[in-house]
């Protein structure tokens, strides 16, 4: 088995996926397949936000919940190795800054904040297709990124609190 490799201290990924922590092996196998589908569904909801119901916030919640599924099935340490918290918090800030950048570029190119310069000035694409409605899909992507990262961070940190642990936030 692969447990002999990477024998540095702590919990290794192979140990977890072979049943050392978390739920039973059936749950682990299925959830590792389903997680990818949920993530893809979340990306679909974010991208098609200007045509069908959904958009940035709903898609972001679904993106976060795919990682929460992973956390429930495999345990917290596995997800922490997979996606370190520092990167998630930087992604969070990046999403918000991207949104601010879109607003300011509306100001620079068009004259007022949030001006939909791609649609009303440059006329990119025809209406009711995927590439249309100007800056709205870009805002949806920025918000989806931010909401997904924030919600994942909130749920992860709430599950870290314990009664006697020296938890620091």
């Amino acid at each position: 088995m692969e447990q002999e490799q990477q024998n540095s201290g702590g919990v290794q990924k192979e140990e977890i996926s072979n049943g050392a922590k978390g739920m039973t092996i059936i749950v682990k196998t299925i959830s590792s397949w389903v997680k990818v589908l949920i993530f893809l569904f979340g990306i679909y909801i974010v991208l098609f936000g200007h045509l069908t119901p959904g958009g940035g916030f709903a898609g972001g919640v679904i993106l976060a919940s795919s990682y929460v599924l992973l956390m429930l099935a495999f345990g917290r340490e596995f997800v922490e190795k997979d996606l370190p918290l520092v990167i998630v918090s930087k992604l969070d800030c990046l999403g918000a800054l991207l949104f601010a950048l879109i607003a300011i570029s509306g100001f620079v190119f068009g004259g007022t904040f949030f001006f939909n310069f791609l649609h009303q000035k440059y006329h990119l694409g025809e209406s009711l297709r995927l590439i249309s409605a100007g800056t709205i899909p870009l805002s949806n992507i920025a918000i989806g990124l931010k909401v997904g990262a924030s919600l994942f961070l909130v749920i992860f940190l709430l599950s870290t609190f314990r009664r006697d642990a020296s938890s620091n936030k």
Binding site: T52, P53, F57, L128, V154, L158, F161, R163, S167
Partner: protein, 120 residues
């Protein structure tokens, strides 16, 4: 009739937030109040026998079809307001729950009658 039920739900949430002694129950009471207000806001835009406010290629063909769509669709503005309100209540719920957990770590209880160091 549905507006009265909404108001009843609001009063139920307010009763729960005011009377109960457990911190988590107070938070649940606040959540029920927020749901009641969101429900009220969505019901304001409803029109009997209306269609969903999602526009399609077939509606854009002529002005008459567009007018028909506008006069028979449900009002989409309260739906946008509710989306914003749900996001805000999510943020405030996360803050309240993390405060409850931190208070439990420090005081050892969820009972608000025992958490009374500040008085006077």
């Amino acid at each position: 009739m549905p507006y009265e039920l909404c108001f009843l739900l609001f009063m139920l949430g307010l009763y729960c937030a005011v009377v109960k002694k457990n911190m988590v129950k107070i938070v649940v009471g606040i959540l029920i109040m927020e749901y009641a207000v969101n429900l009220f806001l969505v019901m304001l835009g409803y029109r009997h026998g209306g269609v969903a406010p999602i526009i399609d290629k077939s509606y854009l063909e002529s002005q008459a079809a567009l007018n028909n769509f506008v006069s028979s669709s449900v009002d989409p503005l309260p739906q946008a307001l509710v989306l914003t309100a749900i996001v805000i209540s999510l943020g405030s719920l996360a803050l309240m729950i993390s405060l409850c957990i931190r208070i439990y770590e420090k005081y050892g209880t969820f009972d608000i009658t025992e958490i009374r160091r500040l008085r006077g």
